[in-house]
């Protein structure tokens, strides 16, 4: 199969995933695309939104459409790492002998919904770190590889911040995208009401296999990026660094730390997925622009002035995009 044919096939598959999820989730096109991009890129997503917007539904729908195992972990302050990772138990066998057996926790699934992750203690949160980055879990002296594809979708509730433990920067950096679930429009709400309050509940089908998913992921990574496009992505990343010559005025005024190189990697990688989803074998500046905001918004740390003035990191990144010329001067 030629590249062009593969492109067309994968584009179609992606479209089908989108359509399938769209049966359950009305609207939220950007969030669905973003989540699909992150799954195809092999990364994790931090989803922020008020309760009831369909975060769990989105992950469940995706797991169904992709034919993946799904686990939901509700993070609470008393949640222990073993509650997530699993624990070693003394088990008596049929012959009466007793031995220790590792009982896997909910982390051992393809797709994890870490609901309200900021409510757990940092100790529990850090238990997620290895799994998210290394795709493995170490219990005692035993390391268990997690089955691929592995994908964590963590949610945060922007309300009720009391008694929460904000995610540390190191952990935030492990999420490819941070996405916001917005309130659906009136029209979308009508559709949601119709679908969820009647007897006709849409049934989801598996549209893609795990293997295919991994194949698409490998293909997307192989898509080449032209130097001037890559340069554009890097210039955007440097634009978020207040001390850099490419920094904009807003960056200099409100940003304490700019995005890490992992941010630039994320932009390029997710841009490739977006190109693939668009049926192209080249990455464009438009892909870069689309990827930049969700990829960098949780990686740019505001300074006191920025926090005090309620500046949103999205605004800063958008201003950087606006002021960064596509052509290198």
């Amino acid at each position: 199969m030629s590249i062009q044919e593969k492109l067309e096939t994968y584009q179609r598959d992606c479209g089908r995933i989108r359509e399938e999820v769209g049966k359950m989730i009305v609207g939220q096109r950007d969030v669905i695309d973003g989540v699909i991009v992150c799954i195809l890129a092999g990364g994790n997503v931090l989803l922020e939104g008020v309760p009831g917007l369909g975060k769990t539904m989105l992950v469940r729908s995706l797991a169904t459409a992709l034919g993946l195992d799904f686990s939901r972990i509700q993070f609470t302050p008393d949640l222990m790492p073993t509650d997530i990772l699993g624990t070693t138990m003394l088990v008596e066998s049929e012959d009466g002998k007793r031995h220790f057996t590792f009982e896997k926790g909910p982390i051992f699934a393809n797709m994890i919904l870490a609901d309200e992750i900021n409510r757990a203690t940092p100790k529990t949160q850090s238990a997620m770190l290895e799994a998210m980055q290394e795709k493995s879990v170490t219990i005692g002296k035993q390391t268990y590889q997690l089955e691929q594809p592995f994908f964590v979708l963590a949610t945060q509730n922007p309300l009720e911040q009391e008694g929460t433990y904000p995610l540390p920067e190191a952990q935030l950096d492990r999420f490819l995208y941070k996405l916001f679930m917005k309130m659906p429009s009136l029209e979308e709400m009508h559709t949601i009401m119709d679908r969820t309050t009647s007897s006709d509940t849409p049934e989801l089908e598996r549209v893609i296999t795990k293997e295919k998913l991994l194949e698409i992921r490998a293909f997307a990574r192989a898509i080449p990026v032209a130097p001037h496009i890559q340069d554009y992505a890097l210039r955007i990343m440097y634009g978020s660094h207040p001390e850099h010559e490419l920094a904009t005025g807003q960056t200099k005024q409100y940003v304490r730390f700019g995005a890490s190189p992992r941010g630039a990697q994320t932009i390029l990688l997710t841009s490739k997925i977006r190109a693939l989803m668009d049926g192209r074998d080249n990455v464009s500046t438009e892909d870069i622009r689309k990827s930049a905001v969700p990829a960098l918004r949780h990686r740019v740390i505001l300074n006191f002035e920025g926090e005090a003035e309620g500046i949103q990191t999205e605004d800063i990144i958008e201003s950087i995009i606006e002021r960064t010329p596509e052509q290198k001067k």
């Binding site: 032209a226 192209r280 596509e326 052509q327």
Partner: protein
């Protein structure tokens, strides 16, 4: 752009090249427009300069050329700017929604694939991009844009057109007259008149003296006064100019040997007059030239003396004018005068005489006693040494001092003149005897020759080598002349006459110097006076000034009558002068004296004259009149009104109209002035008082109408 993979991206390349051309043209247009704005400004400026005449047409054309070059340069600069093909391809991608297909293809064409997989991706991407080429419309990628500076360009072009049509004023038109700076009047017209008058006097002194430097300074002083009159100079400038002139005068100050010479000649004449016997006195009385010459020398006027000597020389030309006896007496007189002329320093001479007397006394004592005490011996030795020193010093002083040398020369010339006169007398006697005895001139020739030789020898002995040579030459010449004279008789000038003429010349030259020095002194004093006039003079009140000026003018006009008229009316004028004087001094007194003329006339006279002479503006500086009210008792003595005759004022006015500057008055004035000048020189009279004294004498000075 280089294609490293040898893949066919030519269509994309061509597209980019075509776009580059399009963009270059647009940029050239844009830059040219911007440059044209500046060029238009330049052309406008140059046009204005050309039209106002600041620059000529050739320069205008040059600048127009420069403006054109600026436009062309702008266009070339715009077209030549570097264009990035990737950026151009991106421009096409953006304008056609190609998602960087073309730019990526171009970029990949330049990039070496890392793997087969990547190469496959490059190829697929290129194919994909090539499929889009036919969709590209360059007009859409780089639509024609109107140059951003077109509006200002149009504006400046319109302005330029208007300027071209308008005719501005040429800067070469005649400039408005320079503002006239009028300074305050620093000297009133009366003072100016007086200063001019004094300058004229100094000039008169210098009339027959060749001293261009002083004349130039005097001219400058005159110009300065003119500037003051025209109010072209400020007080400060005036004083600065005076200082400058004074310095100039000091620089050109001549030697004072003429004054010393005059002084010594004066002494000589005084000595001579003491030693004159009756015959000589009689001779002087009979010969006016000699008398006046001696008088002139006595008064220190060498120029006048020179004139008289010249006259005497003329007189000597003709032997008939003077008898040989008289000539002989005159020669003796001259010899005597020559003896009196002593070039040595009188003090040194006195000292030498003193030592000489001491030596003489001591020598007499030695002769008498045949022996001298030790003390006397020492005294004699010291006196002899002192005498020698004094004589040496005298010689040195005479040789060093210019006046001494000149006096010596005059002395020698006088001696020569005396000899020549004697010779002339002898010759005249011989001639007369020959005429009487019928003899003729061979003996005379030889005799004269012998005489001449002797004279030459005398000259050598007396005056040293150089003088001796001169003597020889002179004598040789005169000897030749005498030969001729002997041959040709009375038609030629006599030797004595020539010698007298030469002496007159010598004296005249010294006289010129003397006059020149006097003029310098006068000029210097005049500068002081002008400075003092500025300090004391009136300024500011132009009305009073003009009134005073008119009065002064009127006074000068009236006083400046011709001599003949003055002589005719002399007696009357003097009388009237007296009367008017008494009227000026005391009105009441005049009333008593001139009762006939009546009270009215006396009153008028006293009032009118007091107004002018006693209470004028200038006399304010003398202070207010004394207040005597407490002791004075006013007595009114009315005179009787006369029916006939003129009033006193009429008489005085009439006298002044006719002129009262008589010769006698001139003499009196001259005497008084001399005395005053002398006193002022000797006494330390303050400058302020000196000013008033001089001013007074200037005012009362007798004048002659030109």
């Amino acid at each position: 752009m280089e294609n490293r993979n040898n893949v066919d991206i030519a269509p994309i390349q061509r597209l980019v090249d075509r776009l580059a051309v399009r963009i270059r043209v647009q940029r050239a247009l844009q830059f040219a427009t911007t440059a044209a704005v500046f060029a238009a400004m330049l052309v406008m400026l140059v046009l204005v300069l050309f039209k106002t005449g600041w620059i000529d047409f050739a320069v205008f054309l040059k600048f127009t050329g420069v403006a054109f070059a600026i436009v062309m340069g702008g266009a070339i600069m715009g077209a030549a700017r570097r264009l990035d093909p990737i950026a151009l391809a991106q421009q096409i991608d953006r304008s056609h929604g190609l998602h960087d297909r073309l730019s990526s293809a171009l970029s990949f064409a330049n990039q070496q694939p890392a793997s087969d997989e990547e190469a496959a991706f490059f190829a697929a991407q290129r194919e994909n991009a090539l499929k889009s080429v036919h969709l590209v419309d360059l007009k859409k990628a780089a639509p024609f844009e109107r140059p951003s500076d077109i509006a200002p360009l149009v504006f400046f072009l319109c302005m330029g057109g208007l300027l071209f049509m308008v005719k501005p004023v040429d800067h070469r038109q005649p400039l408005p007259p320079a503002p006239v700076i009028t300074h305050q009047q620093i000297l009133d017209s009366a003072t100016l008149e007086l200063e001019r008058d004094r300058l004229e006097q100094i000039k008169e002194v210098l009339e027959d003296v060749d001293d261009p430097e002083v004349k130039e300074i005097l001219n400058e002083m005159e110009e300065l006064l003119e500037k003051v009159e025209n109010q072209e100079i400020s007080e400060k400038e005036f004083l600065e100019k005076l200082d400058e002139l004074e310095k100039k005068l000091d620089k050109t100050q001549g030697d004072t040997s003429a004054e010393d010479l005059a002084e010594q000649l004066k002494e000589a004449v005084t000595d001579l007059k003491k030693d004159l016997d009756e015959e000589e006195k009689k001779l002087i009385e009979e010969e006016p030239e000699v008398k006046e010459m001696l008088e002139a020398l006595e008064s220190g006027d060498m120029k006048q003396a020179s004139k008289m000597l010249e006259r005497l020389a003329k007189k000597l030309e003709n032997p008939e004018n003077m008898t040989p006896e008289k000539l002989e007496k005159l020669a003796k007189l001259m010899e005597k005068f020559a003896d009196k002329v002593n070039p040595d320093d009188p003090k040194l001479r006195e000292l030498a005489k003193k030592h000489e007397d001491t030596v003489k006394k001591l020598l007499e004592k030695l002769d008498k006693n045949k022996k001298l005490s030790d003390r006397d011996k020492k005294r004699l030795e010291r006196a002899q040494k002192d005498l020698k020193d004094a004589q040496q010093k005298m010689q040195q002083s005479t040789a060093q001092k210019k006046s001494g040398r000149q006096l010596k020369q005059i002395q020698r010339q006088t001696e020569e003149l005396s000899k020549k006169m004697k010779d002339q007398a002898k010759k005249n006697k011989d001639n007369m005897a020959r005429e009487q005895g019928g003899e003729k001139g061979k003996d005379g020739k030889s005799g004269e020759k012998g005489e001449q030789k002797q004279q030459g020898e005398d000259g050598e002995k007396k005056d040293g080598q150089q003088q001796g040579k001169n003597g020889q030459q002179q004598d040789g010449k005169s000897g030749d002349d005498k030969k001729q004279d002997g041959k040709q008789g009375k038609g030629k000038k006599s030797e004595a006459s020539k010698q007298a003429s030469e002496a007159a010349k010598q004296l005249g030259a010294q006289g010129d110097k003397q006059r020149s020095n006097q003029a310098r002194e006068e000029a210097k004093r005049q500068l002081d006076d002008m400075r003092e006039s500025l300090k004391r003079g009136n300024k500011g009140d132009s009305q009073k000034d003009s009134k005073r000026g008119d009065q002064m003018k009127d006074f000068m006009e009236r006083s400046g009558k011709k001599d003949s008229q003055n002589n005719d009316k002399q007696g009357k004028g003097a009388k009237q002068g007296e009367e008017s004087k008494s009227g000026n001094q005391d009105g009441e007194q005049s009333n008593q004296k001139d009762g006939k003329q009546g009270s009215e006339s006396s009153k008028n006279t006293s009032e009118s004259e007091n107004d002018q002479a006693g209470q004028g503006e200038g006399d304010k500086q003398l202070g207010n009149e004394s207040q005597m009210d407490s002791q004075r008792v006013d007595v009114k003595a009315d005179g009787k009104q006369g029916k006939t005759g003129e009033s006193k004022s009429e008489i005085i006015k009439g006298a002044s109209e006719e002129g009262f500057a008589s010769r006698e008055y001139k003499d009196v004035y001259s005497d008084y002035e001399d005395v005053v000048e002398e006193v002022m020189e000797k006494e330390k009279v303050p400058k302020g008082y000196r000013y008033y004294i001089k001013r007074y004498f200037q005012l009362i000075k007798p004048r002659e109408q030109e």
